[in-house]
Symmetry: C2
Subunit: 191 residues, 2 copies
């Protein structure tokens, strides 16, 4: 195995493509973002990174709240488009049907199978990036993707999110290959 | 479309499964982590969240540095196992062949197609979670996954990372479905 250097590239993959929603000047706005992740289950925290000058950032800074909506591969063209234009130029609330939860300042996309509203609990500034740590207030899942027990959500292949990699490619999720804790227990039993 | 509430669940997916490496008491240790993401390309920053009491966290706090290695689906059993046992109990450096880059305190896994060494530039504490923002110092890619131009890395399906979702399932990446900026430009042209 021979490794080559790429320079300083943040090559974590796959990147989950999400819509970050904020209320800007009283109107829902959305940014297509890949810089987003879970930062803990309990407490339920997420991180999102936005450019300091972006239109959505203005709303997050004002209301200290944001929505995260996870779109599906079938909406890829619209989602990619929403990442190329600013809410300063177009009214994105006409392209994304919005719903609100408990907060009134965290817009989420109706069309997303999963969405959550978050309150900013910490903010880090690294040059022109605003990194927001958000506590999840409530999570919304489309009924067809949730099991009768009310807790189990459909596999990735069914939710069909949009993945991204630094080769500027979008992919979809593939098949299920294992179960958490079971694979490792099998490994330990074999060792 | 009818949405149901799940409570406060940080349901961002897919979760990228990575190994976070740190030097603990002079020995490389690795934690299997899903709470990891890109936080910006330029500057190149990532975020990683670790439990405050975890063995790996001790090394990150001491040296202000960590490695991120992105394993492949073929190593799922070992990777799942590494997430179930603590470096306090077993010597994980015997299970993961380590290499170092420019920093001498950010161990990375030889077997990973992609790995990067990071210096902590910001730290946020949310209850028992330590959220580290890291500046990427150098990125290492296995030669077979990098194009002749020295910049283009293979599609996700070839890199074959491990994805996770909150249904406690592992998946692999699926096929390429589009190209960044092209899908949105096509959308705009049709609109």
């Amino acid at each position: 195995m021979v490794k080559r250097t790429l320079g300083a590239v943040p090559y974590v993959y796959p990147v989950p493509i999400v819509l970050v929603g904020a209320l800007v000047d009283g109107r829902p706005n959305y940014a297509t973002v890949g810089d987003c992740a879970i930062m803990g289950l309990n407490p339920a925290v997420v991180a999102v990174s936005l450019g300091a000058g972006h239109h959505t950032t203005k709303g997050v800074l004002e209301h200290r709240a944001f929505g995260i909506s996870i779109p599906q591969a079938k909406d890829l063209a619209l989602i990619d488009y929403l990442g190329q234009v600013s809410g300063r130029e177009i009214d994105k609330s006409k392209l994304v049907s919005t719903f609100f939860g408990e907060l009134e300042t965290a817009p989420m996309a109706e069309s997303a199978p999963v969405a959550m509203e978050c309150r900013v609990v910490h903010e880090a500034r690294v040059q022109h990036r605003c990194i927001f740590i958000g506590a999840v207030v409530q999570t919304y899942v489309e009924e067809q993707f949730i099991d009768k027990d009310g807790r189990t959500v459909a596999p990735l292949r069914e939710l069909d999110p949009i993945l991204y990699d630094l080769g500027n490619r979008y992919s979809r999720a593939g098949e299920t290959i294992g179960q958490g804790y079971k694979e490792g227990a099998d490994y330990a039993a074999r060792a």
